[in-house]
């Protein structure tokens, strides 16, 4: 049964040093508030998993929280590079980052395998590519019925999955809509699940086929309005495209990045305070 907690309590109780951690959300509903709280609580040695690392993992990697990254597309969408990710891979800063690289189709299939309690995913992929050369966890398997050679990759089973959603009711039943990405699969594949939501409501009033995670599949649920900013929440607020562009400048230089993390995350008490700070600073100074 989901427990309603503050985000600080939820992270403290469920995210431990060295955990494998998936924070999903495909452009939409990225759980930024939770990412900030993990930085604030100085978790270390995390084995991060996410299809598109995006700014959320650029921040965690640059802040020194990560030992490993499993991913399939590591860019700043619509802008360019993730500079902290690149600096870690190219120059081991602030520490070496082991990478396990896959394709989107692989990641999606591997989350499904994890949610289905299967040991591996099987799909048609990677044929002729160099992936098998650099990732020993991508293998081939022969179909016992047709003889076709297919790709097999280990299921993704995170210790913890964190997602952001639009609503949850008092029992912790979670409703999300719009671009759903792999959130449902990532949640069901994990040992522990933290969900941050835009609002806590009496009743979800969800239509029968809506994407609902029953409260008993969720470990902790936290009310964090605007908790996906600068990503977006359909029905609540738009993507902060300007911030994604500004991040290019903030993250390009190590000192600027460190200063930003210190001021905006380490020296703020919570996400609400961060949002206030952000709204008070002129865009150019962020």
């Amino acid at each position: 049964m989901a427990e309603w907690l503050s985000l600080r309590e939820a992270i403290a109780a469920n995210v431990r040093d060295g955990d494998s951690l998936a924070m999903e959300g495909f452009t939409h509903l990225i759980p930024f508030a939770a990412g900030h709280e993990i930085i604030r609580q100085k978790r270390r040695g995390l084995r991060l998993i996410r299809m598109t690392p995006d700014l959320i993992y650029d921040q965690l990697i640059g802040a020194g929280c990560a030992a490993k990254l499993t991913f399939s597309w590591g860019g700043n969408p619509g802008v360019g590079s993730l500079h902290r990710f690149r600096d870690a891979v190219e120059h081991d800063w602030p520490q070496p980052l082991e990478i396990e690289e896959r394709s989107h189709s692989d990641m999606a299939n591997s989350y499904v395998a994890g949610a289905s309690n299967l040991p591996f995913a099987v799909f048609r992929g990677y044929t002729g590519s160099d992936f098998l050369r650099v990732n020993s966890r991508i293998r081939n398997i022969t179909c016992p019925f047709t003889g076709e050679v297919l790709a097999a990759t280990p299921a993704v089973r995170p210790d913890v999955t964190v997602i952001h959603a639009q609503k949850a009711d008092w029992k912790g039943n979670v409703l999300l809509w719009g671009i759903l990405g792999v959130q449902k699969e990532a949640a069901l594949a994990a040992k522990r699940v933290i969900v941050t939501v835009e609002e806590r409501v009496e009743r979800l009033d969800a239509p029968p086929n809506a994407c609902v995670l029953p409260g008993w599949t969720v470990t902790a649920v936290c009310e964090v309005p605007r908790g996906a900013t600068p990503s977006y929440a359909d029905g609540y607020y738009e993507r902060d495209n300007l911030f994604y562009r500004l991040w290019d400048r903030i993250s390009r230089d190590r000192q600027t990045f460190n200063g930003w993390i210190k001021k905006h995350i380490l020296e703020t008490g919570d996400f609400r305070e961060y949002l206030r700070l952000l709204s008070e600073s002129p865009a150019v100074c962020r």
Partner: protein
């Protein structure tokens, strides 16, 4: 400017024309998305645009800045989960055309979007695969749109992320790939098509005002010109007008053109 349009506009218009009306198209972000939406707004109103974040039948009024923009979901016929997109729709054989970009491309239209330099110690770490490896193998056909330069069209890829014709000839078929592979590469200088037998990319048509020499010096391998190589049809006024309107709407909405990455 050549005449009253830019080489980029020539490229986008040429790429858009490749998409036939009614085709189900899996769209990469950036140049492919611009071209696919231009096609939808001109000659191919029935084209079905599929984005890997889940929207099927997206009809965005402005170009998306990212692959998961709200505008894609709001205008789609349906929005499915990412596993469903890759399993039922792409692997399921429902995609006619995969529309891709590339950081590096070789003579057999294999694509690198992973690293420049060695994998273990890359000179430049690129974003990586995204959906491209499975799009390039499972879509019935592939279109690639890329700016023409020696840095992009290279003799040898540092990493094969997504396959075209592998080592040429019938190597793609022998590898058991289900889709037919790339049918055209559209650049800002010309249109390349694979040779019917060797599968090596050859210049099939040259954009107006471009010299053969310019194409040769901007290609990392000894580029060949098809025997029937002619001139690409120039953009029509209506195509340019729709493209410029689309870009102006995008700039007004996002503050940027929505073409990077």
């Amino acid at each position: 400017m050549i005449g009253d349009y830019t080489p980029d506009e020539m490229m986008t218009v040429s790429a858009a024309r490749m998409l036939r009306n009614g085709a189900v198209c899996f769209v990469g972000i950036g140049l492919p998305s611009t071209a696919a939406n231009l096609a939808r707004l001109t000659h191919a109103p029935e084209a079905v645009l599929v984005y890997e974040s889940g929207p099927i039948g997206a009809k965005p009024s402005v170009l998306p800045l990212s692959i998961g923009d709200g505008n894609l979901a709001e205008t789609a016929d349906t929005v499915v989960s990412t596993p469903e997109i890759f399993r039922y729709w792409l692997q399921g054989g429902r995609i006619d055309v995969g529309f891709l970009g590339a950081a590096q491309l070789d003579r057999f239209a294999n694509i690198n979007t992973t690293v420049v330099g060695s994998y273990a110690k890359p000179k430049v770490r690129l974003p990586g695969a995204g959906g491209a490896p499975e799009i390039s193998s499972s879509a019935k056909e592939v279109l690639i749109v890329v700016k023409h330069s020696k840095r992009t069209l290279v003799e040898k890829l540092d990493f094969v992320t997504s396959v075209g014709f592998l080592t040429g000839g019938d190597s793609r078929e022998r590898a058991g790939l289900t889709g037919k592979g790339p049918v055209a590469v559209i650049t800002d200088l010309c249109i390349l098509r694979p040779d019917a037998v060797t599968r090596e990319l050859k210049v099939a048509s040259i954009h107006a005002g471009v010299h053969r020499e310019t194409i040769a010096v901007n290609t990392g391998w000894q580029i060949q010109f098809a025997e029937d190589c002619g001139e690409t049809e120039q953009p029509r006024a209506q195509e340019l007008e729709v493209l410029r309107d689309l870009k102006a709407r995008t700039v007004a909405a996002h503050g940027v053109e929505g073409e990077a990455a």
